[in-house]
């Protein structure tokens, strides 16, 4: 009852806020003279980086949302941005989801606390371009074409591959699995029993959803057919190997989820944290199910600090920002360009597991088809 009442109250508040605010559009003017940064589509179009920095400093603060400090090194990145430009970074709802971020853009518009920039999964960037401001960072050419919107509405920032994390001591005598096929190897079934987990519910957690897709690629599926992935986990479940408890650092530490199919940057972060607790965890990128996805940056159309928002993007896409993501075990979107330019941080680069092979990315319609298939098929296949 209480939760439903709460949800209902939240709905009421949201409706009230939306109707109250729909009449005011964002009228915040930028700090610097004549340039209206809210409509500027690149730093040079607004008068260059110096002008952008001055305008952003005049605004004084930046509203970000749903950035966990321990996720992809965001804590350090926010601190560095603040130290470099003297702009306060307000991180609302640090553990929120992409859905929460989009809701905040829609419902907080006109408020001084509305988000300036968002970091959302691709599934939430594609259908919401009408909420974003077009902007191209100065290193725009370094972002691979498949990972950005042609008009500059959204652009990939960091990402990674689906990986298999494993605590070797807990699965012995079987080896740590490095492919999806190995997980189904009947000679290891007994050793993997009850140990294989995803990062939550694939109908709501992007990492779990991507894990299912990677499994699909390994079992005869494709970007247009995720069904084999659902069947794959159905098989793991009937073998008794699948553990439906979503993995977190604590469940690995507790020995409940010894094999974790998750983003490489999460598994690597867990491995690094657990090392000090005497748990040795390895991270491998499965060669048979190579699936990668990138999170996307976008500037809210209703950003209360349009210049600071643009400066934040310039910062994230500078060598400093991109290497910052890598310090958090994530793969920066400009990885290839930086590798050839020699600007990658050598120490951080060593943190990343090796990858062989190349990947392609789903289109919007493939994404929708896969979401529908997982939403309707997951519980039925594994229930």
């Amino acid at each position: 009852m209480h939760r439903i009442t709460k949800l209902a109250c939240a709905a009421a508040a949201v409706t009230l806020a939306a109707s109250a605010c729909s009449s005011n559009s964002s009228t915040t003017s930028s700090g610097s003279g004549s340039t209206n940064w809210a409509t500027v589509t690149s730093a040079s179009a607004g008068g260059g980086m110096t002008a952008l920095i001055a305008a952003a400093k005049a605004e004084g603060s930046l509203n970000v949302i749903a950035l966990p400090p321990t996720w992809a090194n965001y804590g350090t990145l926010m601190a560095e941005f603040k130290a470099k430009y003297g702009i306060t970074v307000n991180d609302a709802n640090p553990n929120g989801s992409s859905g929460d971020e989009i809701n905040a853009i829609e419902h907080d518009k006109g408020l001084a606390t509305a988000p300036d920039v968002v970091d959302v999964g691709n599934s939430h960037a594609l259908p919401n371009t009408n909420l974003f401001s077009d902007y191209e960072v100065s290193t725009w050419a370094n972002i691979p074409a498949g990972l950005k919107d042609a008009n500059g509405s959204w652009y990939g920032d960091y990402g990674g591959y689906i990986s298999i994390g494993c605590v070797a001591a807990k699965v012995a005598p079987a080896p740590c699995p490095t492919t999806f096929a190995e997980l189904l190897d009947s000679s290891y079934t007994a050793d993997y029993k009850g140990k294989v987990s995803l990062d939550g519910d694939p109908t709501s957690a992007n990492a779990a959803f991507s894990g299912v897709w990677a499994a699909a690629l390994a079992s005869g599926g494709s970007l247009s057919n995720i069904q084999p992935g659902i069947s794959y986990f159905g098989k793991l479940k009937s073998n008794g190997e699948f553990n439906a408890t979503g993995d977190t650092e604590s469940t690995i530490e507790a020995g409940s989820t010894d094999i974790t199919i998750d983003w490489e940057y999460l598994n690597s972060q867990y491995a690094s944290d657990l090392k000090s607790k005497g748990i040795t965890m390895s991270v491998a990128i499965p060669t048979d199910g190579l699936y990668s996805a990138y999170y996307d940056q976008a500037i809210s159309k209703y950003a209360p600090h349009p210049a600071a928002a643009r400066l934040w993007e310039e910062f994230l896409y500078s060598a400093e920002g991109q290497n910052g993501f890598m310090g958090g075990y994530a793969r920066p979107v400009e990885f290839a360009a930086m590798q050839s330019a020699g600007t990658l941080d050598a120490t951080d680069e060593k943190l990343l597991p090796t990858v062989s092979g190349s990947v392609s990315y789903p289109t919007e319609s493939e994404l929708t088809t896969a979401q529908n298939a997982v939403t309707s098929g997951w519980a039925t296949a594994l229930g």
Binding site: A8, C9, G99, G194, G200
Partner: protein, 288 residues
């Protein structure tokens, strides 16, 4: 002015409360229904965004969403029956005890435990039972198919906060059973069975059923525990709403989420329609 107040009488006194209810409960239900009846993602070009439609409600009554509602109802009924039975006996034992401080301590603890749910509770069970170890092997020696991440696992975890809730709601009624009634029944030659069949039982029944309905509602509304334990392999209407409204995978289906929320409002409405008259009856008996 005074005559107006007099004319309004009792209605005048209750007016602020009604106004509050209209805003705090009526408005959200209206908002849910409004959103649930509108279209966000038109499937073909003849429809436009924001037009009136029954599509969301229809979808919410089919396929996986129907299954979610069914599983939610099944889980809530099952856990509520178990918790109501165990809780009632526990509450009776507590009511019979002579220790005043013991009773107070149990009541306070029940108040705390009845609100102890969500991810912390799920993790307590994962850490204790999990996938390997002594506790699990004990449980599996009597219940081989048991696993924490299945329907049966969730059904074992829920009573942890439902039983204290049952104790909390039925203890006042059990305290209201006067010792003299039992003695009077015995004086007239009634056996213990006859006392419970004709006196104690009918007096307790409404309160016990009321407690059961509360357990049902609490179980129906809970979701974080199930979400952390089962990764969506046990479909529940509450986790489905959460996935749609604030997930990272499904985008732009908010109106379907509202339609699902409206279904839960219907379930709650039915539940309250059962609970309120029963509570009234129970109170009448115990006051006399």
């Amino acid at each position: 002015m005074i005559s107006l107040v007099k004319k309004l009488g009792a209605w005048g006194a209750v007016l602020p409360l009604l106004g509050y209810c209209a805003i705090a409960l009526g408005l959200p239900i209206w908002a849910i229904l409004w959103d649930g009846l509108h279209l966000t993602n038109p499937q073909n070009t003849s429809e436009t965004t924001g037009s009136l439609t029954l599509a969301n409600l229809t979808t919410s009554w089919h396929g996986i969403y129907l299954k979610g509602l069914e599983t939610s109802l099944r889980l809530s009924l099952f856990t509520a029956i178990i918790s109501a039975l165990v809780g009632l006996f526990a509450a009776y034992a507590i009511a019979q005890s002579k220790g005043r401080y013991f009773k107070q301590a149990v009541l306070t603890a029940s108040g705390v435990l009845a609100n102890f749910g969500g991810i912390p509770l799920a993790f307590c069970f994962i850490a204790t039972i999990g996938t390997g170890g002594v506790f699990l092997s004990w449980i599996q020696s009597v219940w081989p198919s048991f696993a924490l991440d299945t329907f049966s696992g969730v059904a074992v975890v829920y009573p942890y906060f439902l039983i204290p809730l049952m104790v909390l709601t039925t203890l006042p009624a059990l305290d209201g059973l006067r010792e003299q009634w039992k003695e009077a029944s015995a004086n007239l030659g009634g056996t213990s069975w006859q006392y419970w069949r004709h006196i104690g039982g009918p007096l307790l029944f409404p309160a016990a059923l009321g407690g059961f309905v509360l357990c049902f509602g609490s179980s129906f509304a809970a979701y974080a525990t199930a979400k952390a334990l089962t990764d969506g392999t046990v479909p529940l209407v509450t986790t489905q709403i959460a996935s749609i409204l604030s997930g990272n995978v499904i985008a732009g289906e908010n109106d379907l989420g509202m339609a699902l929320a409206f279904n839960t409002v219907i379930v709650c409405g039915v539940m309250m329609a059962v609970y309120l008259p029963l509570r009234k009856r129970s109170a009448k008996w115990l006051e006399s």
